[in-house]
């Protein structure tokens, strides 16, 4: 029988030489396995006198525990060395190199429209869609612009050969929407509009507006100011002051021009607001009783406000676009700067 001390010494030396999992396996077999050294020493125990058995057993178990601990320690060290080696061998990578170049983009109008639509949705407004080709009735008569009215001078209209028109304002959808929803209602409807005018840096014959209407028994001028202020504060992401001025539009009474405090200089005066501190942004007003009546709503019972916001203008302000013509140019290099949000 081998001396236990020697056995331990031998195991220690052997373990130190082991570098892989396989070696650890055979080491286990050799010392701790069924036919291993510890087992065979224990087998000798029955030959010892009874009074020595107890202390011998204790010694062997202690040696066994020592070997187990050594083995576990060696196992841990090998795993650690392996990981360390893996970590050390990792390549140093330059992550300042750009990843795949993304060039997808939404149109600036789409981005601004989404923003405004979301704000109104959050305030409980329904969102509707409208046509681009409208009847003269919907575009003019139904919004209180009868034939021969000088207001038809104010907007040059594209007429089609079947007598329809390319809608000159989103208001052309008012009648259909009032008939669809009835009162009360809270709706916005974005759309593309057309005016027969020559192109220049600030005039387009094809442009976007968003129109909103709110009708109920008590909807007031004070409510109009409130909703416009809330919406614009959200659009511009900062506190916006609004003011109303008289403005004449046949479909509203009273009609207003809504000015906003210049979001670029906070009303102090800058190039954008022509040093006045205010920017004229959108016509609005209380829906004309005739318009309500034509939409099947009783103006004695219901009242409401409407507004039309120039989207192309808003998109230009948002992205600091100086030429309105860019929007319909199809110039991807320029337009793609809008990205997707």
């Amino acid at each position: 029988m081998e001396n236990l001390e020697e056995l331990l010494e031998r195991a220690k030396e052997k373990l130190a030489k082991i570098n892989g999992n396989e070696g650890l396996g055979s080491f286990y077999q050799e010392y701790l396995g069924k036919n291993g050294a510890i087992t065979s020493i224990l087998k000798c125990m029955k030959e010892l006198p009874n009074e020595q058995k107890k202390s011998f057993g204790e010694k062997v178990n202690k040696a066994k525990t020592t070997i187990q601990t050594m083995l576990a320690e060696r196992e841990r060290m090998i795993a650690e060395e392996k990981l360390q080696k893996k970590i050390n061998s990792a390549k140093e990578i330059d992550l300042t190199i750009p990843s795949k170049v993304r060039k997808g983009s939404l149109h600036p109008i789409t981005i601004v429209q989404k923003e405004v639509v979301d704000i109104f949705l959050s305030m409980g407004f329904a969102v509707e869609d409208g046509n681009e080709i409208e009847t003269e009735y919907n575009n003019f008569e139904a919004v209180n612009v009868p034939k021969n009215h000088p207001a038809r001078d104010m907007q040059d209209t594209f007429y089609l050969d079947n007598g329809q028109v390319l809608k000159t304002h989103t208001s052309a959808a008012q009648n259909r929407i009032m008939r669809k929803y009835g009162a009360p209602l809270k709706v916005i409807f974005p759309g593309r509009c057309f005016r027969n005018e020559e192109l220049d840096a600030s005039h387009e014959n094809t442009f976007f507006q968003i129109e909103g209407m709110m009708i109920d028994k008590n909807v007031s001028v004070a409510n109009l100011i409130y909703f416009m202020k809330e919406m614009l504060t959200n659009v511009f992401g900062k506190e916006i002051n609004v003011r109303l001025r008289p403005g004449f539009f046949p479909f509203v009474e009273p009609g207003f021009e809504l000015d906003i405090s210049c979001p670029y200089c906070d009303g102090k005066g800058c190039r954008v607001c022509k040093h006045g501190g205010w920017i004229e942004l959108c016509p609005c007003g209380m829906i004309h009783p005739n318009v309500l009546r034509m939409g099947g709503i009783d103006p004695e019972e219901y009242q409401g406000f409407a507004f039309g916001l120039g989207f192309s203008r808003l998109a230009m302000m948002n992205f600091d676009i100086t030429e309105i013509r860019l929007l319909n140019s199809g110039n991807i290099q320029a337009l793609s700067q809008a990205k997707i949000k």
């Binding site: 639509v117 409980g124 080709i133 008590n218 004070a222 008289p246 009474e253």
Partner: protein, 789 residues
């Protein structure tokens, strides 16, 4: 329209009023002011002076040497004006005087020293006349500041005409003064008018009105008019307000028009002694007083004398009856014509005058009498010798009905959203000349003044506007609303539209662009395509770009062609409107259409078509959640490739097509490039049901994987193979997909199909798997498809 504060001051006392604040209040309460101009502020050192002597200057034909008395001394002045004469009182800019940017200093002209400059009207800013010196009345004191003699100092503000479209009453200074009186709370002075008594007992002007478009015709005659030009201060006002002094009668008619908004006309009394107003019953030529020959049409309304037209009613007088230097008697017209008639006539003749611009706003017919009396008063005050020589002829055929409107305080409060007290309501409306007829416990009845009743004011809402604008919109506190809370409805088309666009841009790196609703003629011509159009625009800006599109693809091809120089590989899309057909009622059947094109400078047709396929698969599966099928088809258009043209079905409803652009077109963009894409009817897609996702049970027992190689007969499409592969006769759960496609040198294709088989309630046995294996093979054999050995 330009407003002179001096003129306003004739009617409202503005002492102590901050004019700039007043003007900004005007913008906030009445109409938009586009600009303010300060007149005479940059003029100083100009005094009245008398010319004592006029002597020729040696070696100069034009120049004269003057001795001028400027009150404190006699100055030597060299002057080039032709109208110099001894005794003339004029304006002298002394040394150090400032005329705008110019400072007068001692100067040498033709070798002679000049100690100042005698001024013409343009030099002191009161006219554009440069023909001679300003001629002041001989009784003018000498040596006083010119500004104390002439109303050179003034503040002008220009009101945006568009914002006055609906306010005929604001097309005259007096109307503006009325607003300013309401804004400042100061009384409006009455106009000085001729006394009606002065006309009594005289012979009436012979006027016959036959046209139904002449609402009122008021007329009188004056004679013995000796003065030729109007007062300089009147001329200055006319000039400041955009007109110019011509002669006494022309100036006074213009002055009354600017002041009251009522166009006036003065006929030479020797040439026009009677008046007939009628609509022409034939076409004829007529020379207006600007010397232009006009081709009048049947139906145009004219003023005639003895059947010879002398004026185009409401627009312009005729050359044949114009006031001249020799005119001493005058027939005055103060009339009210129908707005629509004047407007259509003016448009048809391509004329727009100060008069027609006012008439087309629907003027108050009550105004004609006031304007006539005002004009006579002004002529008499300018020319003491002028005499009234007729009684007033006033033919008043069409009155506007008196307008009375009931309004309650409760309505005002509800409409505005704040409480405005009764006194404020009544005070404001009274200050704007509305008459309170009744007031019963907060329910009022108002009479609308005639000058607001022609079209502007119709009902309660109009009165609320009057109250609130003067009250001040700034005084209305914004207020939220109390309403039942309901979820907002987002139109499905609007929601899907954004989601699709977002996916295309973010996932597939595509660029959204916008194009016009009409075809671009030049682009289509360059590409050699002639796409269908069923409706056209009759007044397009460019006469060639008049066809409304029936497909998005030509617009997108233009974007591709315009950008291919910048990018070798890119794609663009747009959701726009197209008209493919007319409806039975002849209205355009407009639909929303999603068009998409990919451009690859060098790529195989197959790879590009598969890129398109990947996009549409993704859109249908993940965004639209609809079942997509493609069906090989044919077409008749001239931009798609004849091969590989597929119809697109959403839930078995045809919604569009997927295609490659024919090289006949794409080679014109870039030789050997590949352009492919699809177009779908987005309106129709939005009508389709979206698939509801239902979770399937996932087996907890092991899954067995089996691969099969089948030889695919020529002409069989994948969709046929996969439908066989999915119809195996078995009780087991299985999924199948295409793992690989192999094509040998002879063009024979084989597919590797990958099956995953399991059961929801047990582990599969070898026998189960063998049976499944056999079932797959026999299903394919039944369809004449063999395993590849």
């Amino acid at each position: 329209m330009i407003v002179s504060i001096n003129w306003i001051k004739d009617f409202v006392n503005l002492d102590g009023v901050d004019i700039e604040k007043l003007i900004s209040k005007f913008t906030m309460s009445v109409a938009e002011v586009e600009g303010i101009e300060y007149k005479g502020r940059n003029l100083s050192g100009v005094v009245t002076a008398k010319i004592l002597s006029v002597d020729p200057v040696e070696n100069s034909k034009k120049l004269h040497l003057l001795k001028v008395d400027c009150g404190t001394e006699i100055l030597q002045i060299v002057c080039g004006a032709p109208n110099v004469r001894v005794g003339m009182v004029t304006a002298l800019a002394k040394i150090g005087a400032k005329l705008g940017d110019i400072t007068i200093s001692k100067a040498k002209l033709a070798g002679i020293e000049s100690y100042g400059m005698c001024c013409g009207g343009d030099e002191i800013g009161i006219s554009d006349d440069h023909s001679g010196l300003v001629e002041l009345d001989e009784n003018t004191p000498i040596g006083v500041d010119i500004k104390s003699v002439l109303d050179i100092e003034d503040i002008l503000f220009e009101v945006d005409n568009k914002s006055l479209t609906n306010r005929p009453d604001l097309w005259g200074i007096y109307g503006i003064a009325r607003e300013i009186s309401a804004l400042t709370g100061r009384p409006l002075k009455t106009l000085n008018l001729a006394d009606k008594k002065d006309f009594e007992g005289k012979e009436k002007v012979d006027v016959v009105v036959k046209s139904s478009s002449c609402n009122r015709y008021t007329s009188a005659k004056m004679e013995n008019i000796t003065r030729k030009s109007s007062d300089l201060n009147m001329q200055i006002r006319l000039f400041y307000c955009g007109m110019r002094g011509i002669n006494l009668l022309a100036d006074v008619t213009n002055y009354v028009m600017l002041e009251l908004g009522q166009p006036m006309h003065a006929f030479d009394g020797e040439k026009v002694k009677s008046i007939q107003v009628y609509d022409l019953d034939d076409d004829r030529q007529f020379v207006t007083l600007d010397g232009t020959t006009r081709n009048l049409k049947k139906g145009h309304m004219v003023i005639s004398c003895n059947n010879t037209p002398v004026a185009l009613a409401g627009i312009m007088g005729g050359e044949n009856s114009e006031i001249t230097e020799d005119t001493t008697s005058v027939l005055i017209e103060s009339a009210n014509f129908d707005a629509y008639k004047v407007r259509t006539t003016a448009i048809s003749l391509g004329m727009r005058t100060e008069a027609s611009a006012r008439y087309e706003k629907s003027l108050d017919p009550e105004l004609t009498m006031t304007a006539l009396l005002r004009l006579v008063y002004l002529v008499k005050s300018q020319d003491k010798n002028a005499r009234i020589c007729s009684s007033i002829c006033d033919i008043y055929n069409k009155h506007y009905p008196k307008l009375e409107i009931e309004l309650s305080k409760e309505y005002v409060d509800r409409f505005v959203g704040i409480k405005i007290d009764e006194k404020t309501i009544l005070d404001i409306l009274t200050s704007l000349s509305f008459k309170v007829l009744e007031n019963k416990n907060g329910v009022y009845k108002f009479e609308v003044p005639s000058f607001r009743a022609t079209k502007d004011i119709n009902g309660k809402a109009d009165l609320v506007e009057e109250i609130t604008r003067i009250y001040g919109y700034d005084n209305i506190t914004p207020q939220s609303i109390v309403q039942p809370v309901k979820p907002a409805l987002l139109d499905k088309a609007v929601a899907l539209e954004y989601d699709v666009k977002y996916a295309l841009a973010s996932r597939f790196d595509l660029n959204e662009t916008h194009s016009y609703i009409w075809y671009d003629y030049e682009s289509n011509k360059t590409l050699g395509i002639n796409p269908q159009s069923v409706i056209r625009c009759i007044n397009s800006l460019n006469k060639d770009n008049d066809k409304i599109r029936s497909t998005m693809i030509p617009s997108l091809l233009k974007v591709i062609a315009d950008n291919k120089g910048v990018y070798n590989n890119f794609g663009t899309f747009e959701i726009g409107r197209v008209v493919k057909q007319m409806r039975d009622d002849n209205l355009a059947d407009e639909t929303k259409s999603l068009g998409l094109l990919l451009y690859r400078k060098t790529a195989s047709e197959e790879s590009v078509l598969f890129e398109v396929k990947e996009i549409i698969d993704y859109i249908f599966e993940y965004v639209l959640k609809m079942n997509l099928t493609l069906e090989l088809s044919t077409h008749t258009n001239d931009y798609c490739h004849p091969k590989n043209y597929y119809k697109i079905f959403a839930n078995n409803v045809e919604v569009g097509n997927l295609f490659e652009i024919t090289p006949r077109v794409s080679d014109k963009i870039e030789e050997n490039c590949v352009v492919a894409g699809f177009e779908v009817n987005f309106s129709k897609i939005c009508e389709q049901q979206q698939t509801k996702t239902v979770f399937e049970k996932i087996s907890k027992y092991p899954t067995t994987k089996l691969d099969f190689n089948f030889i695919i007969p020529q002409g069989k499409l994948y969709k046929d193979i996969i439908s066989i592969a999915k119809s195996i006769d078995t009780q087991l759960n299985y999924k199948v997909n295409l793992l690989d496609i192999y094509e040998n040198a002879n063009g024979q294709k084989s597919y590797t199909l990958h099956y995953e088989v399991n059961s929801l309630d047990r582990t599969l046995t070898t026998e189960d798997i063998d049976l499944f294996h056999e079932a797959v093979i026999s299903k394919f054999e039944q369809n004449g498809i063999a395993l590849k050995l």
